[in-house]
């Protein structure tokens, strides 16, 4: 809505500006035209010059040759009246022009027309010089105003301009308001569309076509959103279903394998084989539940508990559990917690965070079969807790690193198992960030940053 108001205020201002500019241009053109016309009038000989070129010698009037040409070119006829109103000289005088005039006659035609001939008069030493033009060739008009008024022009001309500007703004505002009213529901519709709401605008009025298009787009967006959700849901429930169905047969495999493994009547080699079946079944179990968790995290269907917890305590517990569960001697896990991080708090799901940390430790163990030293450090930064887990093993392959850091789809990570993907997803669900990289020595390092409470 803000942008609409901005657009409209700009529209009003520019409309007013255009009106004012047009007004000024027109006035200027008028002025230029008037001046030009005046100049045209003065081109060649004026009435006075022509009158003066009529000279009398010994009772005979002669017109200078140049003046004669001028009269033929610009006017039609000319005559000279004496003081009693009698024509004493004429040139090309038409037949319908009288030869004798009374004072009222003269007063009348001197300003206007003589028998519809536009005429001009000039005082001649012997009387009145009259120049006539062809009928209908000139339009005569005289301007007259009070002197005071003429002086006020300097004030009223700018005032008129201002008044015009104001009128332009008001008119533009009026039209803008109409446009605004028409656009307002459309703008609101687009805003609602961005918020994934259903939009149904009235399709009447000037912008009906636009409203129809917006309605259509909104309907399409809603359908697409629903289809996407359905697909995500279907995928998650499908995975959940498959993992559910695998669990019962796997229970039987694990149960019987474990019983065979513990059966003292069996030869040790057979028991060892049963042990392998049991261990591999346990791996499948982990895989199934990882797959399930990863798909739920990916589509935001995993509930995240929000408890206040101390990461230092959690870390010590996870590592102690690892060491207590009989970690091979070739592996060591060291925990170092900075003084300021000892009592740092974060909000999160303890179970999931525990899983993230143990997945990282498991990853180091699994990919360094010759053993390695795993180090875990915790520091408190500005508003976050920084957890570093690094080892002195082989490090991540380059392609895996790219995959992990680019945060693609789950589908993009086939090679490195789901463990690290889950770590990234869990941290993301806690609004933290994960960075996977290799140290200069070639071993891997994972840095997790979680917002501190």
């Amino acid at each position: 809505m803000k942008s609409m108001i901005k657009i409209l205020s700009r529209y009003v201002l520019s409309a007013a500006a255009i009106a004012l500019i047009l007004l000024i241009v027109n006035f200027s053109l008028l002025a230029v035209w008037v001046i030009q016309a005046g100049k045209y009038e003065q081109r060649g000989y004026s009435t006075g010059q022509l009158a003066n070129s009529l000279t009398e010698s010994h009772g005979v009037y002669t017109l200078a040759e140049s003046a004669e040409r001028e009269i033929e070119k610009q006017y039609q006829w000319a005559m000279l009246l004496d003081d009693s109103g009698q024509v004493i000289w004429s040139k090309n005088l038409p037949g319908d022009v009288p030869l004798k005039y009374s004072a009222p006659d003269i007063a009348s035609f001197s300003r206007w027309y003589l028998n519809d001939y536009p005429v001009y008069v000039w005082r001649h030493s012997d009387g009145l010089f009259v120049l006539g033009c062809a009928k209908g060739s000139r339009w005569k008009h005289s301007i007259e105003m009070y002197y005071e008024e003429m002086e006020n022009t300097l004030i009223w001309f700018p005032a008129l301009l201002a008044l015009n500007g104001l009128a332009a703004i008001l008119l533009a505002l009026l039209f803008a308001m109409r446009l605004f009213r028409a656009l307002k529901p459309l703008a609101k519709g687009i805003e609602e569309m961005a918020e994934k709401q259903t939009v149904e605008l009235s399709t009447r009025g000037l912008l009906g076509d636009l409203a129809v298009a917006i309605n259509k787009t909104s309907a399409r967006l809603i359908t697409q959103e629903a289809a996407l959700n359905r697909r995500d849901n279907a995928r998650t429930t499908w995975i959940a279903g498959v993992s559910h169905d695998i669990r019962t047969p796997l229970s039987l495999v694990m149960g019987y394998a474990s019983q065979l493994e513990d059966d003292p009547e069996l030869p040790p080699a057979k028991r060892e084989q049963a042990g392998i079946i049991r261990r591999q079944s346990e791996r499948i179990k982990t895989l199934v539940s990882d797959l399930n968790l990863a798909s739920k995290l990916e589509y935001d269907m995993q509930p995240i508990r929000q408890n206040s917890l101390v990461p230092a305590v959690l870390l010590r517990e996870v590592v102690a559990d690892f060491l207590n569960s009989g970690l091979d001697d070739r592996y060591t896990v060291d925990v170092e917690i900075a003084e300021n991080a000892q009592n740092a708090l974060i909000i999160g799901d303890e179970e999931l965070l525990r899983r993230a940390v143990s997945n990282l430790i498991t990853n180091s163990i699994r990919h360094n079969s010759n053993g390695c030293a795993i180090n875990i450090t915790l520091e408190k930064g500005l508003g976050n807790c920084i957890l570093r887990i690094f080892d002195n093993g082989t490090g991540f392959p380059q392609t895996v690193l790219e995959d992990l850091n680019q945060a693609q789809d789950t589908a993009g990570l086939q090679n490195h198992g789901l463990g690290l993907t889950i770590v990234r997803q869990i941290v993301k669900a806690h609004e933290g960030s994960t960075k996977f990289h290799n140290l200069p020595e070639g071993s891997c390092e994972v840095i997790i940053s979680l917002p501190a409470k």
């Binding site: 019962t248 149960g255 399930n292 101390v310 060491l323």
Partner: protein
């Protein structure tokens, strides 16, 4: 529950196993019989389970969450309305875990499928013991154990060695008891502080260190070079070499 009085141990418990998978019922039945439970009855669905529950009055129920004709949680609520029978859930979905933890259904414990036989028998034992022999356990003798030439008796709180007889203070007792319960395993500083002071490690680092040093002076032949109460850097402590008397 009516049999509590003439029950000598948990193996006298009559168990009701409810699962729709016949193969799984057979396996669990075998596992339980091998463990020593003699009275086991099986049901394949809610209907059968209800009938057996009212006719046989079992002392413990192992219950699958998803049954063909109903929900294991609902079935448990029905049972609980009739008696306080302990229930151990078998669940095949991770999602059930949230319901079990979140809804406070009062299930005694749960196991996610697939499980190892040992997991099942341990959990079941714990659930039944808690339900039928809780007081007996508390009244029973506390353990006494030997660390090399040193004897520790939790009944008297006395440590006997060639240095003579020393008595453990309350905090030392709490710490040593926690360490002994988890003997052979690392116990985090946080767990130890929870046991002794009811709080996490933060703020108790030095106090814990002082108490451990005093404890070593009492139980270690050479306190400066501990052999039994070991420090695990960054994590906590570990008690090794304890032999139960």
């Amino acid at each position: 529950m009516g049999m509590v009085m003439n029950m000598k141990n948990i193996f006298d418990c009559k168990l009701l196993l409810v699962d729709d998978e016949p193969e799984l019922r057979r396996m669990v039945n075998e596992i339980l019989r091998k463990e020593g439970y003699a009275k086991i009855i099986c049901a394949a669905d809610c209907q059968q389970a209800r009938e057996l529950f009212s006719s046989e009055k079992p002392d413990g129920v192992i219950l699958d969450v998803s049954l063909p004709d109903g929900d294991g949680f609902a079935l448990m609520r029905e049972f609980r309305a009739l008696s306080a029978v302990p229930v151990l859930f078998l669940s095949a979905r991770d999602e059930d875990e949230n319901r079990l933890l979140g809804l406070g259904l009062g299930a005694d414990d749960y196991i996610t499928k697939p499980f190892l036989p040992r997991e099942l028998t341990l959990r079941l034992r714990a659930v039944l013991t808690r339900a039928y022999f809780p007081i007996v356990l508390k009244q029973s003798q506390k353990p006494a154990f030997r660390l090399g030439g040193t004897e520790v008796d939790f009944n008297s709180g006395a440590v006997t060695s060639n240095k003579g007889q020393l008595t453990l203070t309350a905090k030392e007792f709490a710490l040593l008891e926690k360490l002994y319960e988890n003997r052979g395993s690392i116990v985090t500083g946080d767990s130890l502080c929870q046991a002794a002071w009811g709080d996490d490690l933060y703020g108790y680092e030095n106090t814990l260190m002082v108490h451990i040093r005093r404890l070593r002076e009492k139980i270690e032949p050479e306190p400066s070079a501990p052999r039994y109460l070991l420090t695990v850097r960054g994590l906590g402590y570990k008690l090794t070499g304890a032999e139960r008397k």
